[in-house]
Every structure is written in C-alpha cells, then in structure tokens.
C-alpha cells in the first residue's frame, strides 16, 4: 500500500524540517514548502492526501491557502497549525479547515489527526 502523501506549508525552516522528519518517521510521504505559491507548484507535480498549513504565513496566510485548496481539491484533508486560539487574535475558524491544532502541537495528536484525514480523503 502506498504511503499517504502530505504537504507541509511552513515558512520557519526549523519547524518545517522537524515536521517533515517526524511525519516521515511515522510512515507518511512528506514534502515541505514555505508558501502558497510553492504549494501550488508542489501539487502541480503530484497530488496529496492532506495538507498541514501554518496559519501565520507572510504574504498569503493559511486561511487564504485553505480556501483556495478546498475549491480546487474538495476531498483533500486540511490541518491548520496556529499559535493563537481562534477568536483570540487567530481569527474565526474556517469551514474549509478540517482540523485546527494549536502550536506547539503534540506529536501523537498531529500524527493521529493526519492519519484520520488521509484515510477519509482516500475513502471519498
């Protein structure tokens, strides 16, 4: 069985690398990019089961990316990582996002949420 494919959009290099390595060690196929434009390029090469988006990105933020991705890929899983609580400077939760996790996200919670999203995306 092919591994589930994830793309992580995170501009901080240290976090991007840590997320990528952790999820690879959990058996996912992972690509890391630093912007919405880079995500577009990555998905043009090959699709993904789920996305991990940082809400607080320079330029196009996570919510804007989620909105675009949901319109293009209705079945894709979208997980948003945010340093803020929704409604406390983090903005309202968006229906395009399947799961919100607050930073610092616990490793197991992140893995479990992504696995569930990928299984759901695969089943649709």
């Amino acid at each position: 069985m092919s591994p589930y494919s994830i793309v992580i959009v995170e501009d901080n290099l240290a976090v991007q690398e840590a997320l990528c390595d952790h999820l690879r060690e959990q058996g996912f196929e992972v690509r890391g990019v630093d912007s919405g434009a880079a995500l577009d390029a990555a998905l043009a090469q090959s699709s993904a089961h789920a996305l991990v988006l940082d809400l607080n990105l320079p330029g196009e933020d996570g919510h804007s990316i989620a909105q675009r991705m949901r319109a293009r890929f209705p079945r894709i899983g979208i997980l948003m990582l945010s340093a803020a609580l929704a409604g406390a400077g983090g903005g309202a939760r968006q229906p395009q996002v399947d799961v919100y996790l607050r930073k610092p996200a616990q490793a197991q919670a992140l893995t479990d949420a992504l696995r569930a999203l990928c299984e759901a995306a695969d089943a649709r």
């Binding site: 290099l13 240290a14 976090v15 840590a18 340093a83 930073k103 610092p104 197991q108």
Partner: protein, 228 residues
C-alpha cells in the same frame, strides 16, 4: 505580544515533536539530529527571552550606560568567541579588521554595556541571516579630523542571505522583520534596541547595501557618552 507568542511557540513546536522523536530514534544519526534541533530550539527561546529582558531593562532605565576605558580588542575577543560558541559557528567566521593595527589596543572611553549589546546584535544577525559559512567582517577604524574629536567607526559586513534585504525605511522599527526573515527565529527587537542605544550614545546605526553585501555601521565620538 502576538508576534512574541508566535516566535516562542515556534521552537516549542520543534521541542514537542523532538522529545517524542528522540525517544523513538532508530539510529544514532537520527538521535544526534533531533538532539541538535532541540538544543537549537532551546537556544532560540533563550534569545527571544533575552531580547525581551534587555528591552525591558532599557525602557526601565536599568541598563547601565556607565562609561569605562577599554581597548577594542579586549572587548571584542570574548564577545565574538561567545557568539560563535552559542551559534556553533567556527571561531574564524567573523574576521575583525582594523584600519590601523594599533587601533586594536588604543584605549577608548565609552559605554561598554551599550556597545556590547549593539555589536552582539549586529554580529548575531549576520551569523543568523547570512548564507552559512559565508565570511563576516567587522571593520574598525579611528577617524581623526583636525580640531575635531576623535571618532571610532564600526562596520559589520555580511553577504545577503535567504531572508533578503530589509526595507531601509523600516529596518530599525520595533518588531520589523525582513520579508523572508520568518524562516528564522527572531523578535524584530534587536536592531530597534541597538538603534536606541546608539542614539543614547550620540550616534546612529546606518544600513546600506554594497552589491551582494549588507553593511551596518555606526560611529562613536570621543567624549560623547550616554547619560547615566
């Protein structure tokens, strides 16, 4: 505050992932990599807290502006060693050059605490943002003009890295960060504080671009000290 919360939660994310990964690491190489990431994440948090503490002390009048006599060489050697140790950079990454060799040991009277913070920020930024292993130069020169007080000029030169060139109209603003600087940990407080300290010493830090290099430079004037 939102910016600082985000900047602290970012390395905490690495710590949350790494603590589990380290326990489950299958090979010594994986263990070593996660250990390095954890140490860097902790160092990033310490830097953020130190920045906030310095700003708080400055604004509360608790940063000592006391002037003392020092030789540039004796001030710079431990500062650079400490920076290189903290960032795991090779000791010779930062080259200190004097316009005239004797300037290294000629005594100067100034606010050593303020000068140390400024140089720590400028050199620390160069280490953080310049391409890895690219050389960093600190040029120091004494300027003598007939009938004028002697001046001591400091210039930090480094290659422009992935964070790009800061907006020169905003670079010394509080919490400003260059467009792609979010790739790295930072608060946007270091250059703001450094400029405040320079102004307090009757100086001003300037930034310019020389081809593929960024230069931050400032000049101290003999006899002009920060108010106590």
């Amino acid at each position: 505050m939102d910016l600082l919360v985000h900047e602290i939660k970012t390395p905490l994310t690495v710590i949350a992932l790494g603590s589990k990964a380290l326990a489950q690491a299958a090979t010594p190489a994986q263990s070593a990599l996660w250990e390095q990431r954890l140490q860097q994440a902790v160092a990033n948090i310490v830097d953020i807290l130190d920045s906030c503490s310095q700003v708080s002390r400055f604004e509360g009048g608790a940063l000592s502006a006391e002037a003392s006599v020092f030789a540039p060489e004796s001030l710079l050697s431990p500062l650079i060693q400490s920076l290189c140790d903290a960032t795991q950079a090779p000791a010779d990454r930062i080259a200190v050059r004097y316009d005239h060799a004797q300037d290294a040991s000629l005594p100067w009277t100034g606010s050593t605490a303020y000068l140390q913070i400024i140089l720590n920020n400028l050199l620390g930024n160069a280490l953080k943002y310049a391409p890895p292993e690219s050389p960093i130069a600190l040029q120091i020169g004494r300027l003598h003009w007939r009938g004028q007080p002697t001046q001591l000029q400091f210039a930090v030169r480094s290659a422009i890295g992935p964070a790009g060139v800061p907006d020169p109209t905003k670079v010394f603003e509080r919490h400003y960060r260059a467009p792609s600087a979010s790739r790295f940990s930072g608060t946007g407080l270091g250059l703001w504080l450094s400029q405040q300290l320079a102004l307090a010493m009757g100086s001003r830090i300037h930034m310019s671009q020389e081809g593929a290099q960024l230069v931050f430079w400032f000049t101290l004037t003999e006899g002009v000290h920060a108010p106590p």
